[in-house]
């Protein structure tokens, strides 16, 4: 892993590049509009708010182009599959796509604010320059367009109107209002709180982006940002004529200046990403049409439903997830679930826990009614899209890997451990020689299906004589006094009383300093990959541990942190 410095700082570099491009576009456009001769007369009326509005508009175009790219899941999966240079760090950046999407959204919000405020001032100034009190060059410029064969500069033609009417009678004004409303609706329904309260509200309201992009494309169609035409500039020398506005005539040194509107350019920026995203949704629709055969349904206690499915040409890697849709529950919703089967199996499976409207309805639809098992043909139809997501195959690239799962974060590791099992069964020579697995769990009952998997792995490993390959530690963080007494009484037995496994369960949270220190001593000169799936607080702790216990010596032990993002 030569790119270990790149590892940590690639995110920062990418964010700074994005910021840099934004600043460059802003400042470059600003200076252009402030100095460009063809806009000199426009600046006489508007001042520098013209430049502010145009500069923020260019940044808005840039950011609106970028915003659709991080959420094109198939594009990202494609890039993940093909990037070959410095694979690790770049692939980890692809995991942060949602963070980038949010960053670009903030960029759009900031630029939209600048743009709106600047145009409010512009509209007001256009209106004022039509008043009877306007004098000199201002008045002359505003009257341009009243006579035949003159092109106008001021889009507001008379003082006897108000700015609101002018806003609502121009394409730019109406579309601008619609775009702003769409943006605000999207942003207020995307706050973290609302996503927790109701993910569906967030998801459905977000689709207002369709209105956003359509309005954006036609926003400039009215061409109300006007500058002098090149032909007029040749005949009418602005530096001389601006002071001789009283003598402008049809001919002579200062003929009437002619103006034309700037053609809309937003559609050129966003066309590509919109087409790409449209393809995304078409792919999703096509995948929806494909048949998914359900081969097995297992209903575990504590509300966990296991589904085994088959689909043509379905290839997965451990740690990936799929999106599932069940038309009989909801026509529009696709929900993500981590795959819990290994790639070597001839089916793929997910474990679904009933913890919200959709999952509860799904579990109810699949659960056997009473003791008699349901026929497979009477089960509701499912559609599957994917697999997406970061593959945990990076685990196999390190000689030592540490997998840490908290609570429901254990599901990607189910797939991984099964995959390890299959690989060691097929006796391929693996680079990976030791796996540490930490599972921190409050309620083991919900994951007894995972404990079964660990039990079978344990037996297999000891059969193969590789009992030291996998070392797992289970930490139970929620227990009451009755359980404690029960555990204390059975302490001396050879298998654990809660899980039935040979390795005993620990109680309370792990002491990460101790764990990392022991691992650093046990593997003094290896690269150790750390893989985590669980809550943010623990993620921060683990990142800190990785930094603390990685040695400063490049030949010493190094911990590389990979977070599973879902």
């Amino acid at each position: 892993m030569e790119c270990w410095i790149l590892n940590e700082s690639l995110s920062i570099i990418l964010v700074l590049s994005w910021l840099g491009v934004n600043l460059y576009l802003f400042i470059d456009t600003f200076c252009w509009y402030e100095e460009e001769e063809s806009f000199l007369y426009t600046r006489v009326i508007l001042g520098s708010t013209l430049a502010w509005a145009r500069a923020s508009a260019v940044c808005l175009n840039f950011n609106c182009m970028l915003i659709l790219l991080p959420i094109s899941r198939n594009l990202i999966s494609f890039m993940r599959g093909t990037s070959t240079c410095c694979r690790g760090p770049w692939r980890r950046q692809l995991d942060k796509n949602l963070k980038f999407h949010k960053l670009v959204a903030y960029g759009i919000a900031v630029n939209a604010t600048i743009h709106i405020v600047a145009h409010l001032c512009n509209l007001q100034r256009y209106h004022w320059s039509q008043s009877a009190h306007a004098e000199g060059l201002l008045a002359v410029l505003s009257k341009l367009g009243n006579a035949p064969n003159e092109s106008y500069l001021n889009p507001i033609r008379t003082f006897h109107t108000n700015t609101i009417t002018e806003l609502l009678t121009t394409i730019a004004g109406v579309t601008g209002l619609i775009i702003s409303l769409a943006l605000i609706l999207i942003m207020t329904s995307s706050t973290e709180f609302i996503r927790q309260v109701s993910y569906e509200l967030f998801w459905y309201t977000h689709h207002v982006f369709i209105i956003f992009f359509i309005s954006l494309a036609i926003h400039g169609a009215g061409r109300i940002v006007r500058g002098q035409t090149p032909e007029s500039q040749l005949q009418h020398n602005v530096t001389f004529c601006r002071d001789h506005y009283a003598q402008w005539q049809k001919a002579a040194p200062c003929p009437m200046p002619q103006f034309s509107g700037k053609e809309p350019s937003a559609w050129k920026w966003v066309l590509g990403p919109v087409v790409l995203y449209a393809c995304e949704r078409i792919i999703r629709f096509w995948r929806f049409q494909q048949d998914v055969v359900i081969t097995k349904v297992v209903s575990h206690p504590s509300g966990v439903l296991e589904l085994h499915m088959k689909k043509r040409n379905f290839k997965m890697d451990p740690g990936q997830y799929i999106l599932i849709q069940c038309p009989s529950v909801s026509w529009l919703e696709w929900h993500p679930f981590t795959l819990t089967s290994a790639p070597q199996e001839n089916f793929f499976s997910v474990h679904i826990r009933a913890s919200g409207d959709w999952t509860e309805a799904l579990c109810k639809a699949f659960r056997a009614e009473g003791p008699a098992p349901q026929e497979l043909w009477s089960l509701p139809r499912l559609a599957v899209d994917g697999p997406f997501g970061t593959a945990l195959t990076d685990v196999f690239h390190y000689p030592v890997s540490v997998c840490i799962a908290a609570g429901i974060g254990v599901t990607p590791f189910a797939s991984l451990l099964k995959s390890i099992w299959y690989k060691s069964e097929s006796q391929i020579q693996l680079k990976l020689s030791k796996v540490y697995f930490y599972w921190i769990c409050r309620d083991p009952k919900a994951f007894e299906w995972f404990a079964d998997l660990l039990l079978s792995l344990e037996t297999l490993m000891s059969e193969r004589g590789k009992a030291h390959f996998l070392s797992y530690h289970i930490f139970l963080t929620g227990w009451d006094e009755n359980q404690a007494v029960h555990i204390a009484l059975h302490w001396d037995e050879s298998t654990d009383v809660i899980t039935g496994l040979k390795q005993k369960t620990f109680y309370g949270r792990p002491n990460w300093s101790n764990e990392f220190r022991q691992m650093a001593y046990a593997h003094p000169s290896s690269s150790i990959g750390v893989f985590f799936c669980g809550p943010k607080a623990l993620s921060k702790t683990l990142q800190r541990m990785c930094r603390l216990y990685s040695s400063a010596d490049p030949r010493g032990v190094h911990f590389y942190y990979n977070k599973e993002s879902f």
């Binding site: 604010t113 709106i116 405020v117 409010l120 001032c121 509209l123 007001q124 209106h127 004022w128 108000n162 700015t163 609101i164 806003l167 209002l177 702003s180 409303l181 605000i184 609706l185 942003m187 207020t188 329904s189 706050t191 973290e192 709180f193 609302i194 927790q196 309260v197 109701s198 569906e200 509200l201 459905y204 409207d357």
Partner: protein
């Protein structure tokens, strides 16, 4: 979609509208736009809406993330009782507040946003939602007595548990624990003197 608590979204939308009204008002007043006095109104209305909407109501199920420092405004809002609890009142209040700001260009966006928030509040009110203040949880004092089991009342050497059961049963039967008086050892203690 059945379980959406619309009031939560209406609250976010109204808070955003308040901020937009304030911003539009500042732009209009600072730039001395035509009819800029509507801008002053808009700043006032915006501040009022922000203060009213800052404390989040409690969700019907699940835990609610409080906004930083909202407990002070929660106390103020509780004083008004049904005026702040009822979402119909809030819906019409917001609708009323948004109308004057609609006469000035700089604040028209705020008007539109507040009107949308008002309609979401109306929807929430129709579905029977109410603003419930988030009460601070009373700090649970750890009960010192309950977690510690009765310490042994006999000094060592103590006979095994079975022999001790009888005296503790008598204690449990309601008699006050006897602790005074000479120690009665159930098992004879032989003192070996060398």
């Amino acid at each position: 979609m059945g379980q959406i608590e619309w009031a939560m979204w209406a609250n976010e939308q109204a808070l955003a509208s308040g901020l937009i009204l304030i911003m539009g008002g500042i732009v209009a007043t600072a730039g001395q736009f035509t009819k800029w006095y509507f801008g002053v109104y808009s700043i006032g209305a915006g501040v009022f809406v922000c203060l009213l909407e800052y404390p989040r109501g409690k969700r019907r199920k699940g835990s609610t993330m409080e906004r930083c420092g909202q407990k002070y405004m929660t106390k103020v809002l509780k004083v008004f009782g049904p005026l702040t609890r009822n979402y119909y009142i809030r819906a019409f209040l917001h609708l009323g507040l948004s109308v004057p700001a609609g006469f000035l260009l700089a604040t028209i966006l705020g008007t539109a946003c507040l009107a949308i928030a008002s309609s979401i509040y109306l929807l929430a009110a129709v579905r029977g939602e109410q603003w419930i203040p988030i009460e601070p949880k009373p700090k649970e004092r750890p009960q010192v007595g309950a977690t510690i089991k009765h310490p042994p009342s006999n000094p060592p050497p103590r006979p095994p548990a079975e022999a001790r059961k009888k005296p503790s049963e008598e204690e449990a039967a309601g008699a006050v624990g006897v602790s005074g008086g000479p120690q009665e050892n159930p098992v004879p203690v032989i003192d070996e003197v060398v």
